[in-house]
């Protein structure tokens, strides 16, 4: 299980770093084994920052991230390398994940040299062959090619195959399908679902609610760095309680229902997140005095928690 415990990330911004930007604010989240957890939020909500912190690409300011009870924030050298055997990431733009002057399968050779130097070439080739077939690629068609000779979907699957070669337990999937076409994105999603059934857990970072609903077991809604609602996907999508989540769900373009007329969109220029109080209160139709205090995530039932003063907590 991967666990985030009150994780906060503060960036220093402004010319001399004089101002603070709370990209992630006091986020706690648990991702059990073989579960897909969707992290949903608009651009700038801090969802990618959470992924980067899990992948050790950026430090946490406060709080702890642990894998199976072991704190991972202080890992260095061999310990960190060991961590990367278990935890890997795949990112939004498959084209920029490759060096265009080398062949695309170079990334497999790097894995071989770095992590499995004692595995002989023949065994490695069979292993690679298996991993590529697992992600639905025919090795004969895709190996020995340059990145520009492969499609976005193929490159994205290469990256997933690379993660599989390491026998990983946890995958951070940061907007991995937003650059893919409708006809191929479903295949990549189905692949994730299949890997989950083999014990992999996935943090599925996205801004697309229907895709998150399609794939995930649980979902967390992030707004301006804070989780405003978390619960099982079924609960979130059928009975969302936070006004922000409700607004998001109403905004999703659907093929079975047309939009109602728009109410309440942001009209004021960007400002830093509120240091105190509810982060959504300037756009919220229900906001009242109490909202200048920060609402904690409180359970509304066994599978569902909401950070909103207007939503009564479950009894007991």
């Amino acid at each position: 299980m991967l666990k985030l415990d009150r994780v906060t990330k503060v960036y220093r911004v402004g010319t001399f770093g004089g101002r603070e930007l709370r990209a992630v604010d006091d986020v706690s989240l648990q991702i059990p084994d073989s579960e897909v957890v969707a992290l949903i939020g608009e651009s700038g909500s801090g969802k990618s920052t959470i992924g980067k912190m899990i992948l050790h690409l950026t430090n946490t300011t406060t709080g702890a991230i642990s894998l199976d009870g072991v704190d991972v924030s202080g890992l260095r050298g061999p310990g960190l390398k060991d961590y990367y055997r278990k935890v890997q990431g795949v990112f939004q733009d498959p084209f920029s994940s490759y060096n265009p002057i080398f062949k695309a399968d170079r990334l497999f050779h790097i894995i071989h040299a770095e992590f499995y130097p004692r595995v002989d070439a023949g065994t490695w080739e069979r292993k690679l062959d298996g991993a590529l077939r697992d992600v639905g690629l025919n090795p004969e068609h895709v190996l020995n090619k340059f990145p520009h000779q492969l499609s976005g979907g193929q490159l994205q699957r290469f990256l997933i195959a690379r993660a599989l070669l390491l026998d990983i337990r946890f995958l951070v999937a940061d907007e991995i399908i937003s650059m893919l076409d409708a006809s191929t994105r479903i295949d990549v999603l189905n692949l994730l679902a299949e890997l989950r059934s083999r014990g992999l857990s996935v943090l599925f970072i996205t801004h697309d609610l229907s895709l998150a609903n399609y794939i995930s077991d649980r979902a967390a809604i992030l707004y301006r760095g804070r989780i405003v609602e978390v619960g099982t996907t079924a609960r979130i999508f059928t009975s969302a309680r936070h006004p922000y989540t409700q607004m998001l769900l109403q905004s999703v373009p659907r093929l079975d229902r047309k939009w109602e007329l728009q109410t309440g969109i942001e009209t004021t220029p960007l400002q830093a997140a509120f240091a105190s109080g509810c982060v959504y209160r300037d756009r919220c139709p229900l906001a009242y005095e109490q909202c200048s205090q920060k609402p904690e995530l409180r359970p509304v039932d066994a599978e569902h928690a909401v950070a909103c003063w207007k939503v009564p907590a479950a009894a007991g």
Partner: protein
């Protein structure tokens, strides 16, 4: 009043030969029509959009013509298009959020833009004010730098700028794809509002997101590998598509209630042909479940009902039987 495109063919010239990105596009956009243009990446939808406003090398006009209210639009001549650009045909480019000059305040940039078209800024200011209200931007955005606005707000600002001279056709290239769902909805609905308010007579909305088009478009045109596959009223495309590609494309869209545990969706096997030397005939035939020997010839774009055109041999056969 309408924009008519007849047999428009545009290639990209490369060192390895012509890339046949757009072939024999024929369609009409009526005044007041919001036409959605959808398809996978590389299907030629952006090429079609750009060729109506700025057909610059490496794009090359091979054939076909475009008329606006029965007057020829000189799309192949970059210079001759100048008086038409912004006035008759305007565009909200892809990544419009990065389209504004980052080192100019928005007001100053607008002034410069209008002066280049010989329009007086002071005179247009009241109308600009009204349009800003329409997209719910405060008047003081004119004193801000682009970086001070959010993505959705920049998108709306560019929308106001593009339509300031009331063009006949507004081309909106992937304007919603980089936005979160709330801003997406706002921007899409404002596009409809602009049409209602006569800020533009008609619009061509280029996107890969068909569910957005279902919300706002009057008609949808589906393209595949440089050719028009089908054009019809929005409800017809979504609920009664005739072209095999349209059918498959619609079936890959997850609806909000869909979960993979309950109903597993399928992608479309295979990938589009390379357009450098595309195979003759229907370009979808290698992925098509109903293809046969006839498909090695290019199918005609057949009007199966009023306002519903399909390019598929199965439709030709169906008509022959009827």
């Amino acid at each position: 009043m309408s924009l008519e495109v007849r047999d428009l063919t545009v290639y990209y010239q490369t060192l390895r030969g012509d890339v046949r990105a757009l072939e024999n596009a024929t369609f009409t956009i009526e005044s007041g029509e919001i036409m959605g243009l959808a398809g996978e990446s590389g299907c030629g939808k952006t090429t079609l959009g750009h060729s109506l406003i700025y057909l610059a090398p490496p794009m090359k006009h091979i054939g076909g013509r475009v008329t606006l209210n029965d007057v020829d639009l000189p799309i192949a001549d970059i210079e001759a298009m100048n008086p038409h650009r912004f006035r008759d045909v305007s565009i909200i480019p892809q990544y419009a959020m990065n389209a504004m000059n980052p080192v100019r305040k928005i007001g100053r940039m607008t002034e410069e833009l209008l002066r280049s078209k010989g329009v007086d800024y002071a005179q247009i200011r009241p109308e600009l004010q009204r349009r800003l209200d329409l997209v719910r931007l405060r008047p003081d955005v004119m004193d801000l730098y682009p970086i001070e606005l959010s993505g959705g707000m920049k998108q709306r600002m560019v929308m106001v700028l593009s339509t300031l001279l009331n063009p006949f056709l507004l081309i909106a290239d992937e304007i919603t794809s980089a936005l979160d769902v709330a801003s997406q909805k706002a921007v899409a609905q404002m596009l409809v509002e602009f049409r209602e308010q006569d800020c533009c007579k008609s619009a061509m909305v280029i996107t890969h997101d068909i569910s957005i088009l279902y919300q706002i478009a009057d008609s949808i045109m589906i393209m595949y590998a440089g050719q028009i596959a089908e054009k019809a009223a929005t409800d017809t495309i979504i609920h009664e598509p005739r072209h095999p590609y349209t059918k498959l494309l619609i079936s890959t869209l997850p609806e909000i209630g869909a979960q993979y545990t309950r109903k597993r969706l399928q992608g479309i096997a295979g990938k589009p042909p390379l357009l450098l030397l595309p195979p003759a005939g229907c370009r979808f035939r290698e992925r098509c479940p109903v293809a046969d020997a006839k498909c090695v010839q290019t199918p005609p774009l057949l009007e199966v009902e009023a306002g519903h055109s399909v390019a598929c041999w199965r439709e030709v056969e169906r008509r022959a039987q009827a």
